[in-house]
Symmetry: D3
Subunit: 133 residues, 6 copies
């Protein structure tokens, strides 16, 4: 039961298409890890009512930036949007990560987030930069 | 102006007493770091309206746990309470950090948080553990 | 059932005395983390037959040194002895960690291991160092 | 002499083909690093009798996963097979790394290991996942 | 004013071409991070007279290697040359990073540095390796 | 011979008193690590002429701050002074580390450096902070 709850929460985060691919590629080497992820990460923790999924998504972005786990960060930027976070909130997390984890972390995470958002069709206005430098 | 805003936000987080001590110990070696902290971390980032201070506090706890910065984590657990977070929310962040950063991180951060909360006079009911192990 | 198996494996590693203290200090703040640790870390993973506990202990020492998790490392040096590892094997792990994680990591982990071993009553012969330096 | 011993151990790990390429690309910029690696890492440490190469390989996988060093991890998954480790043992290390270093680490390391194993012609049976999620 | 100083220092490090691209891609998502970088990193810190830019570049290479921030490291290897560091000095930093951060870090950073230097048209003499291994 | 050179460089860094204690505490558990440190870290790398010891000291401070290795950082702040670095240069490294590694790193490293400098009898003038915050 915990695993089913976990699988539904995971699907909300990574999207139907990616979820189906993931299931199709589950094999004897990776099955235990995937089952643990579904039971333990999503079934046990993400389902807890103490924090809503949107806050859990923002927290994931911050921690994954801190840890430098860029593949997972990519997934969770999309997951944050799926869980109802705004682009603005994502931007704020990354600015705070820049101060707490250092500028290289902030630059790397912002670049990844921007790629994910553009893949989602979100566009950003160009901004003029100061003259004379 | 940015520095004054920052100093007020910092004082809310670390408390009046610690803030006064900090000012008394500012000297020619650490003054630039402290000014930068007040201007950039608190004056620039913490003051931004895109996330409320309570969310910024929860995010700090997550990132500091991920980074293993235990002294700062200690400060921010208290800061989270000052910014209106509940004990339950703090507990939830630490459980999520356990999954994403590993059990040793979760154990270390939970121990630190428990110490801070007890220093604040918060008590926790003892819990019986399973028999027969 | 998984939790009971986990609790027995954990007790073997941390010792009867420490295990009893841990149970006595379980409370409403830390109980979920502790239950997860017993179920998932020890009940699910440590119990798997694919690697013997002695190898899992050596692996823990290596990973905890790499992660810089000194409190957990302290526990697992003792746990390695409880699981049948020799002092020599522990020394070898730390030398390999020195190369792969850097000299500061190796120095810190070796100091911690030496403290734990001495607390266990294990003594080491003094060694003369080269003259003339 | 230590360097020759080291070079032979390194060749066993990375394979004859990769070893020859490496020698061909040694130049005035990277020669000191490569010599140190051959003398210090392989000649001094890997040759020590206190742990067999198979155990050293499993330890490397664990530490490299913990450190997030994905290129080196890729090399050492192949090296573990060359040193007599089984696919099952590699899988077990990665599951333990998941608990101790966090799920993102476990996912990243398992993906890399799976790629290496497939490049070696090792196949894995597909596994059906639970219905209804 | 601080921002202009910062932009000039940044341009010296990343080069005119990359700097112009960067300005062209500044948008509503990344503008705050970029402004902070120009003001805080370059305008405030890099401009300080206590260390010359060449020393700051060598320090960046060491810290970015330690942090595993490979994209930023790539930028700063080029920046070091722009700030007057020699290829030899860059090589020395990487050898010291190998000892202090571990061999995988040294190998990864050296590979990145070699790529950047070759893109700059710097060539290295091939070196013969010991026979008989 | 490399080991003797290394031991002399190490003694310059950690001081005569600490060096003598270290020799007195060398035993069968830690002797290999210490020998490796003397041969490879100091004998091979620190002795290389490509960077002067003062620059190597500044680099160590930056990397150890990045890695969070506080015990080693403590040693190398003193070592930097022994190798001719100024207090001002040490302060500059720590400010740059704050930007590149994050504010918690900068705060922790600055606190440690301040302790070491005070133990050395170096005093710092108190600095008045802005009124009204």
């Amino acid at each position: 039961m915990k695993r089913d709850i976990g699988r539904r929460l995971l699907m909300k985060i990574i999207g139907q298409e990616y979820f189906t691919c993931r299931d199709a590629s589950t094999n004897s080497f990776n099955q235990d890890l995937r089952r643990l992820s579904e039971e333990y990460c999503f079934g046990e923790i993400w389902s807890r009512p103490g924090l809503p999924p949107s806050t859990r998504s923002l927290l994931c972005i911050g921690m994954l930036a801190a840890l430098g786990k860029t593949s997972e960060l990519r997934l969770h930027v999309g997951g944050a949007l799926n869980n109802g976070c705004s682009v603005d909130e994502i931007k704020e997390i990354l600015l705070q990560a820049t101060i707490y984890c250092g500028l290289p972390t902030g630059v790397e995470a912002t670049r990844i987030a921007e790629e994910v958002l553009k893949e989602r069709g979100i566009t950003f206005d160009a901004v003029a930069v100061p003259q004379g430098a």
